[in-house]
Symmetry: C2
């Protein structure tokens, strides 16, 4: 964890325990530091698992193996290594992951494909097998720890620990979701990685959990951007222990399915926004709302073009109501748009409508809005009913300092 | 023109006059400044014209009208306004362009569709018609000026004037190309615009000139990026007066067609690289060479993913041989690639091959290369014969200062 805390940081929430989930941390010493860097989550037998992974072709062995094993739908353990991403390390990196899986599987007397591993940190250095072995030996014997301990331990250059929780009534019972995530603090000297883990006591079939997680990710994790760069290790996993005792949710028609889906999406949205709030150098949190696109997918693409535009992000950093840059970003998105139907606003106040600046546009309230920490940009395309909201942060000197001034 | 000159600036070349081309500049006063901001180029009757324009959907009226009029293939005049892009100004902006076209056409007794207009500068403010009228009145009476004068006058926050020249033997005669361009210095507080103009005395059919210009743009202007943002006004026009007296080049089979195409591409490449060398905050010029892609288009897409990656660009700014970030950018490009066949190098020295860091990799010569001004990144995908080179600059505190610290 870095020293300077993001000005957008929020306190770690009070997170309920999840029956069937036990957290432990230890120090493997993947880097020369005194903090814990190895997290172990033991999961009750019968836990369902679902996952979404980076689309980066050059993904790590952890992602490759996890993507293959998620299909069998059951999980007994999660290991997260911090300080070394083990990405782009060829067969040696793969061997290290398989060693961890074997070691944990033997400890639990469980099939090894039910052990999920993530790693985040420096790229191109195979995860040292000896440190991993000793670390796993230590962590399985460690005392159970808190959500906050685990959230800290998976962090790299994150500036604050990030957690989220929600409940839903399913089949007459309260089910709980507790989750933590790391991301968007840079792992010096390499790329940021987003690793998120969601735990629930709900009973839910793996295939349906996967369907709900993929849908939730689509409107949460896939709607955030810090710098348009995609990590080789991004992973979000959802684990459902079934200990709440509800009738298992097998599909959309089951009791509580909608409530569970809403709670899951809520947790995913909280986690995704926390990542943006810890974006490198972030001083402002930006929500880009696009309406009137030809469909939702088009709205999201336009939103991401705006949220990824260095010129828009630096304008917000400069507290400049530069709607011309938003027009530019809409135009380059490659999606249907008509310049003369386009409207742009900040903080709910239109600056331009129907392809022209508003004659009576008063910049004073907009300028006041832009001096705040939470900024909204509204774009109406004027063509259809498609809508999306995308979240990002501003682009500041802090981003350059973190990523350029640091030498490996 | 800005005060602080780019460390990558090159001297303005000695540029030969082109028969049939007369340059003049004047001050319309589009902004409150004492410099000239209106450029007028008079072209001999029978001049062929070709053009490539921004793909930004929210383009300016200048681009819309120019794109329509380029099809008739003849040009008598070019007007360039600096200080106001006239983009996103609705019908009022369009009227201002049409007024300029009418005024110049009347002066020359030429069809108005042969008058081409470009504008660069602040967005969302209609070009003031009165200033434009007085400016055009003044400029048509002004004394002819030099290439350097014109190159300065079309600039906005460019830090140096940019010109390029080349010759070719066509049909036994020497034909000359002289060209100038502006771009990538920001027009505070709006987006950068690239405006480029190429003049030649060659006799060439407009349709074939268009074919050659489009092909040249594809491997030059379309292979540069500063910040991935696409201006609403980008325009490159090529004018051929025919005064060299060669047999008109009508197609690929004609005498000198290949020599002319090579010279045109050479000039386009020079201009494109000059824009990158004046990229906002640029301290280093970066050439990204991609080989072994499945085809050339795929190689260019991969090259642009690398050149647009904020993490790669900040690593170069920090003189950090962070090949892991290059791997990440290849992986996110969405093009065919295989992690385990990928090789990455800097300055001609491989750092990683076949999906793994090289065992005997010596960072010292790479570090020395990265301390220079001109950086090369080599990427071999290992799949096919596709290749491309893409040019960009590093991402520095200067970029943030220019685009965020400045308030409109």
């Amino acid at each position: 964890m870095s020293d300077a805390i993001s000005p957008l940081a929020t306190p770690f929430p009070a997170m309920p325990a999840i029956a069937g989930v036990t957290l432990r941390v230890a120090r493997a010493g993947y880097k020369d530091w005194s903090r814990c860097d190895l997290t172990y989550v033991e999961l009750a037998e019968g836990t369902s698992v679902a996952g979404v992974f980076t689309r980066n072709i050059c993904c790590s062995s952890e992602v490759e193996i996890g993507r293959a094993n998620i299909k069998q739908g059951q999980a007994r353990a999660l290991i997260v290594n911090a300080g070394n991403s083990n990405a782009f390390t060829g067969y040696r990196g793969r061997e290290a992951v398989e060693q961890i899986m074997d070691q944990v599987a033997a400890h639990l007397n469980a099939p090894r494909e039910q052990v999920f591993v993530s790693s985040t940190g420096v790229i191109g250095v195979p995860l040292p097998k000896d440190k991993a072995r000793e670390g796993v030996d230590a962590v399985v014997k460690a005392a159970p720890c808190t959500w906050l301990d685990a959230a800290h331990t998976i962090g790299t250059t994150d500036t604050f620990a990030k957690g989220a929780t929600a409940t839903a009534i399913v089949d007459g019972r309260t089910i709980t979701l507790s989750a933590f995530i790391k991301g968007s603090g840079m792992i010096a000297p390499d790329m940021a990685t987003m690793l998120g883990y969601i735990f629930t006591d709900a009973a839910i079939a793996p295939a349906y959990l996967q369907e709900l997680l993929s849908a939730a990710a689509n409107e949460t994790f896939n709607c955030i951007t810090v710098d348009s760069d995609t990590s080789t290790s991004d992973t979000v996993l959802a684990f459902a222990t079934g200990k709440a005792g509800n009738d298992r949710i097998n599909g959309a028609g089951c009791a509580g399915a909608d409530a569970f889906a809403a709670a899951l999406t809520d947790v995913c949205r909280q986690l995704a926004q926390l990542v943006v709030k810890d974006g490198e150098g972030a001083q402002k949190f930006i929500a880009v709302s696009v309406t009137g696109a030809v469909n939702d997918a088009s709205a999201r693409k336009i939103g991401l073009a705006i949220a990824n535009s260095p010129l828009v992000k630096t304008a917000i950093a400069g507290e400049d109501a530069n709607w011309g840059r938003v027009v530019m970003a809409v135009g380059k998105a490659g999606e249907p748009a008509n310049r003369d139907l386009l409207s742009i606003g900040f903080g709910g106040i239109w600056a331009a409508k129907d392809g022209q600046p508003l004659a009576d546009y008063d910049e004073a309230p907009v300028a006041a809005h832009l001096r705040g920490r939470e900024i909204s940009i509204e774009v109406d395309i004027g063509l259809g009913q498609g809508r999306a909201t995308v979240w990002t942060c501003d682009l500041t000197h802090g981003y350059i300092s973190i990523n350029a001034d640091y030498r490996s």
